[in-house]
Amino acid sequence: MKVLEADNIRKEFREGRGEAVPVLNGVSLALSRGEILALEGPSGSGKTTLLSILGCILTPSSGRVVVDGEEIDSARPGRLPAIRRKSIGFVFQQFNLFPSLTALENVEYALNVKGAKGAGARMEAERVLDAVGLSDRKGYLPRDLSGGQKQRVAVARALAGNSPILLADEPTANLDSHIGVQILEMFRALAKKEDRALLIVTHDPKVRAICDRVLQIRDGLITADGLAA
């Protein structure tokens, strides 16, 4: 079942003198529940812009995006936060945890933003932290966690709230390779188990090993779409 669809996405940015700079030149892709997809490409190829559009952070200049059954209307950008809350979980390269909140609070806060409150939110936060293997680190502040542990918290935050789409931006870039692989495998297992769609933007060749499919993007165009080797 398709949970994320992009059809002929184009995106231009205006530079200082008003010149249009094309970043995406007609990208199409689809992602189903339980599917793990890698998006590979060199710097400047449009990966992050595509991720931002698929994650409802940016709207495309043209083309059609359907997220969890809802078509994104560029004319109504005010609707985007609600779609993000309901349907999308992010994992960032820099983890982006709140430094003043403990691991548990970081996850619980994301749930609060999504509308879950009270004991229910606390229990869900505990569940996902247990799932990523951080049962004994729930009360730790990010500064007291290792890079791998921080990324596990970030994964837990993305998983919390049952968003059907998980988007990860270079999740292993700031981790050593051994830890990176461990986290990717855990992430894959959890996504599969909970029937979530997972799209990972990466430079890291090891990522393709855990993915079902790999997309290559270059100069704003998908140049290859195939099964992971």
Binding site: P81, F92, N96, F98, P99, V113, A121, D169
Partner: protein
Amino acid sequence: MVDLATKSLLHDKLRFVITVSGVAFAVTLVFVQVGLFMGLLDNASVTIDHISADLWVTSRNTPNVDFAHTFPETSVQRVRSVPGVARADNLIVWFMTVNLPSGAQEGTLVYALDDFRRWNIPWNVESGDLDDLKRGQYFFLDGSAVKRYGAFAPGEYREILGQRMKIIGRTKNALSFTTTPISFMDFERAQKLSSQQLSNRTTYVLVKLAPGADAAAVKAEIARRLPYNDVYTRKEWATRSRNYWVQSTGIGLNMYITVFLGCLVGIVVVAQTLYTSTMEHIKEFGTVKAIGGGNLDIYRILGKQAAIAAVAGFLLGALMSYAMRPVIAKIDLKLIITPQFAAIVFVGSIVMCLGAAMISFKKVASIDPALVFRG
């Protein structure tokens, strides 16, 4: 519900202390400046507030109680004949020169009445019997005179307008706005001392209304019968006396400017620290947006942080101001902080901090959540 606002604010303790200090500084400045000002103004009308007169008859255009002008003492007869007047007596308030044993000259503001007890003045007698004032060249002196005259005790003599007068009593808290010590003597004694100006003259007529009398009607009738005088209710006269000092001298303007500057400093400190904090946490706010939060969520965070800084700063400022009261009292000044005034400053602190947070609101509204993808 996770309280990101509070936790984030308290996470950087130094910045929190700076923010709270900024608010506390502004609050203390406002409390002390306005409190001292109110204390001074209280002195300007303290005798009016304590004298149990319902109406005051003054000479035309008398600006305040200390700067009295004379009019015929027989005016009191006309006042007494007005229906609704239970009692009316002459009161002299007059500046006189005192020769001190050191050879120095000082001033005293003399309050002279025929019967002090009837009008509840002086209201705080430390020693002496007011009835003795009629018995000779006697007077009561307020304890605040120590600062200007040096130590004194009942039984000692001072020369007032060249006449040797015996101090037979001591009062407390009878102060004038100008800090001129207040003394109390018999009405006729005061007229004799300054006979050139005060013979057959008075400076005020104090009026006590009969029970159930209509104050406005009595006031109007007195004004009709004494067309060259002014008539005020106690409240009106106290207000007029206080307003004179506010409007005719620079102290009112000075107070307003200081309060304005204090608030400005508070706003700048809070705005600056909140804005810097916002800039330092910009990626966190971007994350809030990326995970589905809107501008309103971030406004709530900033607003709550500003409110916490306001409450903490207010409490610290109020504490410091209260702690200063005994110190200020030692130099014979009053720091008046009424509950209403404190409530106004509290609300002002909240408004000030929320206003300061508006600058950060503007910045937050322009946050691009895509910044979360930047390294």
